[in-house]
Each structure stands twice: as C-alpha cells, then as structure tokens.
Subunit: 430 residues, 2 copies
C-alpha cells in the first residue's frame, strides 16, 4: 500500500477542510526555521494560504505510520516508546450520535497520525471559536503515532440491556474475563465500552491524540480511566535491542514479530469463520494493570530474581544457555519460572502478541512506588490464549510473589479502516 498517497487523500474526505487554509504541524516544522511571521496579534492568527497541510517536511514524513489498511496499526507496528491508553464510557443512548462520533474520530485519527492537526488545518483562523485542535503538538512530527480502537463487552450489553442493538453481534471470543487467582481489580482502572490505544515516540503526541478524541467525543463518551506508559516492555522487532522492564529484565525476547505474517495469521488476526464476520482482520486486546511490589523485588537476591524468570538478568539467556536468543531448554528452568510456564511448548503452542509498557504513577499512601507493567496482549481468540495462560500463571507463577493485577479490560479491536470514507466500527455498526 502506498501510505503517503493514502494519507494525502484523506483530507479531501473531510469536507473542504483544506480550503480553510491552516497551518499544519508539518508546515510548522518545515517553515518555522525560516522564521516566517504568521501571528497577527490581537485578532487571532491568519495563516498563509500557501502553507497548506500538503507541504510536508521530509523528516516528519518518514515518521508516519500508515493509518489506512487491512488491519489497524498499533498492533503489529514496531513498538513505539510511549503509550497513552484511554478507556471510555459511552454516556448517550443515541446510536446515531455514537456513529457520528466514530466517523469524526476516524477523520481526526487519520489527520493526526499523519502529523496534521485535527480538522486537517489551522489551529486558529476563527478568533471567536475554540480552535479545532488543542495545539500542544504543533511543531512536533507524527512521531510514529498509531491510534487503535477497541470495543468492550459492555458496549454490546450492559446490565442486561442491549444498548445500541449490538447484542447479537457480540463475539463469543469477547468473554467477560473470569476472576483469576490473586486478582485485586479496582473498578476505576477496569472495563470500558471503548478503548483507544495511542502509541508514539513522543508522549506529548500520544497525550494530544487522546485529549483531542475525548474533546470531539464530549457528550457522547467520558474517559473512564487512562494510563500513561513510559517505557515499552515488549519488542516486536527481534533484531533491535530488547527493552527492559522495571524488574530490570529484558522483556519481549520471545514474542510474535511484527514481520512474522504466519505467526500473526495464526495467533493474532481474526480469520474468516472464526466467529462474527465484522471482526475478520481484527484482534482481541486484553489490558491488565499489573503492579510490581518493587521494594520487595529490589531486596530479592539475584539468584531468586533469575529463578523467577528462568533467564539470566544481564544477558537474558535461558537457563543452561549462553545468549538471549538461544532456544530455551525448559527443563533447565525452575518449574515455577515465568518463562517455563508461559512458553508455547508448555501450552500446546499458544502464543500472544505482547505490547506492554512500564508505568510509574507516583507513590501510594504508604510511600511505595505505584509502578509496574501495563500489560497489553493481542490475540485471535482470548478464550484460547490469555484466559488459559493467565489461569495457569495465576496459579503457579513464581512471579506472583512480586506482582498484583489491579486493573483489567477486554476489547474487540475491529479490522483496519481500509480507505478514506470508511470509519472505525463500520463493520460493526454499518
């Protein structure tokens, strides 16, 4: 797919926005250095009509991830550095209002993932109106921003109510997750009717995206909870350096690579015949906020830490082997080690695509760091992936000495929006 052409086509769909002659992020990047004066003090800002959003700066351009496609971006996309994840409650009963918002979201998402403003154009041409875009990402490149949408179980049915006539379309795979052993779930960090996963190499870009979607959704959705992630903990690009989680271990060594079409087809993308047709090409997302009791972990011996995973700390090598990427000898690992329990060979070949981030949300009332892993996993069928795996880990994993699951959510992420004019959720609502 020719990403750039697709993206440049997008604004044409947004209804004459280009005629509004705005100053786009790309144009700012391209021109700011030249010192072009565009402020007209006291009367708002009149942007030069020649500086439309199709004047991309070369540098920014290379940082776009294509928005349009068969699958949503942000799943097999190489993991970006930062995350802002938001779960929304739908606060209207009006299905049309919801659909209208999803269409507006799609346009906005196409715009900002392409490094343009919401509205495709200027932050300020009409002094009497609030700007279309909140502006804090002006001058920043797209930073590989991806926006991925998902629909939670409660969108289909809540308290026995078929809220939007979607009940019959709820996929069987979108189960209510069972209560796992040790779960200490907090309601205000769990659930949600809709989620947006925003990933970017710059947190300001990810935050800007969520904020502007929340703003567009005013009156239709409310943010239920949100989570910032600051250090990716999983890699989907096996040839780059594996990032470390807050326990100091390499995380993402054995994962489904974004380039592994076979693995993605087998374990991640919903295939025709899997269940609800509208999900074909989509994926199921499980999000878990997992707190680490950092203080206890930091007092554990190195031996104990390594026994927890069955891998060495510095190199990340499996027990009995030398290098991080050596094939593991599961029998050489402690029976309760995380990797031995989670490895496909111990689970009839099951794999999930992990895409989590570290978080630190200050300290709790007891002076302990509120930190851990915001676990995100994509899969073709949650019933056959996260549920059995987590049931097993919750029962036996040595890692449980140091972690507690405090938040949980489950979403059906529809297939990609293939071209301008289509919209998020069209296969479900359309």
């Amino acid at each position: 797919m020719d990403a750039e052409n697709e993206q440049q086509a997008a604004p044409a769909e947004t209804g004459g926005v280009q005629q509004r002659a705005g100053l786009s992020r790309r144009a700012v990047i391209g021109w700011a250095g030249a010192g072009v004066a565009i402020g007209a003090a006291g009367v708002g800002t009149v942007a030069a009509a020649t500086m439309g959003s199709d004047t991309p700066a070369a540098a920014a351009q290379s940082q776009d991830v294509p928005f349009w496609g068969e699958h949503q971006s942000g799943i097999s996309t190489p993991v970006q550095d930062r995350l802002h994840f938001a779960a929304f409650d739908v606060i209207t009963e009006d299905r049309d209002a919801l659909v209208k918002m999803l269409k507006e979201w799609t346009k906005a998402a196409a715009s900002i993932t392409g490094g343009r403003e919401v509205g495709g154009g200027a932050v300020g041409v009409v002094p009497q109106s609030p700007p279309d875009d909140t502006g804090e990402a002006l001058g920043l490149p797209a930073s590989r921003l991806t926006l991925t949408i998902g629909f939670g179980p409660t969108l289909f049915e809540k308290d026995g109510q078929d809220r939007f006539g979607l009940k019959a379309k709820r996929p069987e795979a979108l189960v209510d997750l069972p209560k796992f052993k040790g779960d200490r779930l907090e309601a205000n960090r769990s659930g949600g009717d809709i989620c947006i996963q925003a990933c970017a190499d710059d947190p300001q870009v990810a935050v800007h995206a969520i904020r502007n979607l929340a703003r567009i959704g005013m009156g239709v959705v409310n943010v239920r909870w949100s989570q910032l992630g600051f250090g990716k903990t999983s890699s989907t690009t096996p040839d780059s350096q594996t990032p470390r989680n807050l326990m100091g271990f390499k995380d993402g060594t054995h994962n489904i690579a974004g380039t592994d079409a076979d693995g993605l087809g087998k374990h991640v993308w919903v295939a025709p015949g899997d269940g609800q047709d509208w999900m074909t090409g989509g994926s199921y997302l499980v999000a878990r906020r997992i707190r680490m009791t950092i203080e206890t972990w930091d007092r554990a011996s190195l031996q104990d830490q390594e026994d927890t995973f069955g891998r060495t700390k510095i190199e990340g090598a499996p027990y009995g082997k030398q290098k991080e990427r050596d094939a593991p000898d599961l029998a050489a690992m402690p029976a309760t080690s995380h990797v031995r329990l989670a490895h496909p060979d111990s689970n009839d070949g099951l794999m999930i695509l992990r895409r989590g981030y570290s978080f630190t949300d200050g300290t709790d009332g007891l002076g302990r760091l509120d930190a851990g892993l915001f676990f995100l996993a994509y899969q073709r069928d949650t019933r056959k992936a996260f549920v059995p795996l987590q049931t097993k880990l919750a029962a036996s994993d040595k890692l449980n000495e140091y972690i507690t699951h405090v938040g949980s959510a489950h979403f059906a992420c529809p297939p990609g929006v293939r071209k301008p004019g289509e919209w998020w959720g069209q296969t479900l609502f359309g």
Copy 2:
C-alpha cells in the same frame, strides 16, 4: 572543567568498587552488539573482568552532563525531555544515618549520571545478594541525566523540633510559603524534607535514578510524593524550538538562558553575603503542581486563549508584534494577561528560572484529565522572586480561570559537589 576526567575519577572514590569487575551500562552499550556471551545460567552472571566501567561507548559519553561542579547540574542545564521528581520524608532521628545516606547518594548519583550502575559496576556478581543496581537502565545511555538535591524547611525544624541540629542554619530565604489566593493544596502532594529532581531525555533513566536512591535510603527516608513530567514546558536554550505546554502555547520564550552568566548570577545563584554561607552557589527551588481545567480551556475561543497570555497561539508573538522573540509591548496586552503581569518590566526587573514539565496523571473521579503544569522555578531568594510574583498572579491573572495550584513545596538546593570525595549537603552538615 574537564567533565570526563572528573567523572572517570569518581569510581576510585567509591572504595574499590572497580575491582568487583562489573558490567556497566556503557560496557553493555559498547559490547552488546558484538553478542558477547555473559550469562552463566542458574549460577548468576559472571561478567568478564575486561569489561569494566571505563570502556565507554562513544555515543553514551556525549550524553553525560557533568555531575561535579560549582553549581548543581539540572538548574542551568539545557532542559531535558523528562522529569521524575521525588520529595522524601526523613524517617530517622539519627543525624549520622542521614549523613551516611547523603554520602551514599552522592556516590550513586555520580555513577548513574555518568551512565554507570549504582555501585559503579555489575548488576550481578553475587547470586546470593540483591543486585546493587535494579538494572532497568542497563543498555541505556546516560541520556543527559541530572540529579539535583534540595532541603525543605521541615528538615531544619518540624513541629518546633530542631530535628538534626540544623535550625540555626535555616536560611531566611527558605520561608514557609504563604497561602496564596486560590490555593487548593493537597498535603500528599506538598512539602517534604528532601527533594531530588531527576531530569533525563529518557524517562526510564530518570525513574531508575529515583528508584535506586529511594532504595539506598531505605530506613532513612520514605518517598512522600513524586511526580512524573513528560514534556518540558520551559526552555533555557533560546536558540532551540520553544516547547508547548498543554494549553498549546509556547512556554519558556522569555526565561533566563542557561548560558546567561549575568542573569544566572543576578537571579539564580545565591551569592556570598546573601545569608547562610552554606548556600553560596546554590539556589532556591519552588515546585507547584498546577492543574489545568483542560475541558474548560478547550472550549474557550482562540481570542480568549490569546488574551489570557497576551501572546498569539501559533507563533507565540506578543500582542502588537509579529514574531515570538520580538520585544513585548506590555501596553498592547490585556491588563490581566499572564505575560503582562509576569514580565520583569512590571515587577522591578525580577526574574526566575522556570524549568517546569507537563504532566498527565490519568483522570480524576469525574472523568476529567488530571493534567497540567508541574511548575519548577529556581531563584536566588524566594522572598524577592516567587512570593511577590505569585501573590500578584494569584490576585489578577486571567489564567486563574483555567488553573488551580494543588501541590506546593520549597527547597534550598545547596551548591554543587565540586569533586569526588565531597558529598551532597556537606556545606550544611559538614
């Protein structure tokens, strides 16, 4: 000062640590690509003795900010991208234990700001012990990490108690901040006996630093509160692109430049004769957690937004002028505009060095973004800088329609640690 020599000298002071033959972050960076096997499965990790911490990778090296010097780094240092700020309560009454910790902190700080591990060496050589360093920054460069320490009023005197025999040394400038109009301060985001400001271009590096200091301080200090900042909102480097705050405005346009020795001497560094001698070369830090009511702001018209600051949104030009860096005509700005009120010409020339960061800490119970500006300002005498300025702003600033101060703290940041062997707080405790 020859920063690199100073830094390489540091480990010698740390008591034979280099003999422990460890694998440093720099060595990891330098060697990881070569695929050198260093894991010895099941028996901990034996690092090659040839790979000491004096094998720096060229790339990482250029990312060190000198730790030793007349002034602490992290004040006039060009603002890094990320912040982790922690305020600690001292939980012991034992002055010696506190001094011992400050010495250990200094060694650790010199090590990690230089891109090395805590302990100067290996994450794991003794399987039976917890690793000296928690390890999550292994493989990451120093990322311009700076660590800046400050002492709060309560360290000198708390509930009438002279806790550590420091009461007579409390600087007069380290006032208990008055309650300003509109303040809605939360106790669990305010105060603290000691603070550490960790700034780095990589949040994992900043978080790693605070965590390891907290760990070293176990039994002596507890984290009282901490704050993550993800987008710098002030620039101290006038020639680079000015960052934008969460209101979408350029922030830091008119600030004290890190290279402006005159301005720093006049407004930031405590001079001989200013008061307590132990503070000469130091600076006073005010930290304010300022929440923005983003939802209200986002509904305000562009005109209203620009009137709030007296500057245009996109370009950041002062009213009546064309370019961001044009000298402002204060009379052309609304009387209640933030810039008109805060500009030195309206305040007998007073200036502060602003070094704040944006924050987003998820959402509050009402579905509103808990976001804003974590305001950090350095000054030579708080009584003549922040206090009068904030008194005025609190009374008249149009910006108050959109912000609330919810956290507040004040610290005396001592001068720099000039060379290995000296330690943080030595001029106060020594």
